[in-house]
Subunit: 330 residues, 2 copies
Amino acid sequence: MKVTIYDVAKKAGVSIATVSKVINNTGNMRETTRKKIIETIEEMNYRPNQMASALSGKGTKTFGLLVPDISNPFFSAIARRIEDCAYEQGMTVIICSTDENAEKEKKYVDVLQGKQVDGLILASTFNDKGVFHELIEGNIPLVMLAYDDSMLDISNVSVDDFKGGYIATSHLVTKGHHNIAMIAENTQSSRLRIFGYHEAHAVQDIPTNDKYIFSTIASIENGKKCFEEIFQQTDIDRPTAIFACNDLLAIGVIQGATEKGIRIPEDLAVVGFDNTILASTTVPGLTTISQPINEMGKKIVDVLIEEIKGKKDVKKRILFNPELIVRGTT
Amino acid sequence: MKVTIYDVAKKAGVSIATVSKVINNTGNMRETTRKKIIETIEEMNYRPNQMASALSGKGTKTFGLLVPDISNPFFSAIARRIEDCAYEQGMTVIICSTDENAEKEKKYVDVLQGKQVDGLILASTFNDKGVFHELIEGNIPLVMLAYDDSMLDISNVSVDDFKGGYIATSHLVTKGHHNIAMIAENTQSSRLRIFGYHEAHAVQDIPTNDKYIFSTIASIENGKKCFEEIFQQTDIDRPTAIFACNDLLAIGVIQGATEKGIRIPEDLAVVGFDNTILASTTVPGLTTISQPINEMGKKIVDVLIEEIKGKKDVKKRILFNPELIVRGTT
DNA sequence: TTGAAAGCGCTAACAG
DNA sequence: CTGTTAGCGCTTTCAA
């Protein structure tokens, strides 16, 4: 049988209250009893049951982290950072991959609430806003990653997507490209990056055409497919550059182009987004926009912990600076 | 305030016992009361507190997954698969990155036990065997990934590392390489892969020299460093091929070699292990050994669930077949 | 078919 | 300084 606080108390010849006090480092007591209890705990290899302590008011010391896909290098990198920061605070992370699928999003949020997580980090899209409102009403501490929607009163940490889209596109424009295709996702970040794309054209008086903007879901496979689609278009001039809204898609483009004998960057320039590990291992290296993953991950858990501590009213919206990393594809 | 089973019971005009029965789909009752209760649950948006149900005997419906590093593509890929399979069983996964660090391993295992996880999946090395014994004594259902130690009476799912090392090395030998360096890790899998490396030499009557075997920790950076070290050795002939025990290290080697103007595969052949997403995005593509990640992930949770259900005695040891994926680096 | 009540292991007043 | 006790929200036997 599992050893409980009663077993420890009995063996140490004290009451459970006293044991509880040493576990939680609260209250005062004779140094000898404290020592005695600590010894007994070690001896019996006692480990407090967190369920019980959670039930009686303490938190669960666990976060929920919803991401589209933990096997996407960007999300696994930031998850790692979040996990580390949480670990330092004695917290643990339940990771949930949603595939941006509304049903899974809802299900996971429900399950996580049932598990009484102390806070939620949402990096999935939630096109169904209903879930947010439920969460807000439920008063669950939460912070969004990469989803800066000013309509929602939720703390948010993200990279400045508008600026990211802008500098990626400007870089291409500066290199002389006027027919730039963009591969986006159906997410808020992508929408902002698209605005940046337009803005970069606008400041140079270059017209844009929505036919150059494509949409898909993040994966190398889809990037490749999308590339093929782009090069089959007959109603637009063939683009000389492609701005993909993440590295996975950019790499799909590179693979598709390579298969067709299109040279990169000579015949086609490519820019990605995220600066994942993949961007540095392709040849040529992928020009991309980097997000300060470590800073962002840290900030996310800091903000979440503030929320948990009850500074409920000061919803924060924090923007990090994206940075252009020039490599071989441009 | 959170709505509890009492609130539901009161509003539905029944006792909590009855509500509990409909939640858990146990016992019988008049169809009308069941319907009434279900309605009330929906109306009040009631979500059972899992802590309470865990406390009173039901499991926590959560697994712990210890990996060296979730941002390593191999582990994030298998974690994704494990998460999906767990999801299908209504379970959730707490992911912990240990960096193969004994202290973190111990700490995480303790925390996870405190959280009363229903089972543990261990993909970290645990050079300190003490933790295992504690776990075994604690009678925690557990299965190891990629750590087939016949000394330990623990269920295990892994790829046949010996065979993997063997076919990787044989491939190189067949290509005419006689001076093959190996970069390993200080893990059980690596040790088995080293045996395979020796065996592949032995069957061809090619002598081996332990000076060709290097050891480090998985990362691109370390792969590069290790490569540089290898090429500074003066007491051995310079190797014409390197077998790295995972893709990260292999890519480090490629990067190091490229920087030094060493051509791949002409001057140096490279083989990796894992067939991660990285192996297909480098140029030239990385020849590597693939592990059937999807099958393995599925098997792991199947076995774990069996353990949980109490088939405690039939510890399983399951080996999957590795496969050589030939790409451009050999 | 339904409900009362005794836990599950711990925390936090409150009392001594 | 230490112990008693009433919950926390749910499950489960046992009666009714």
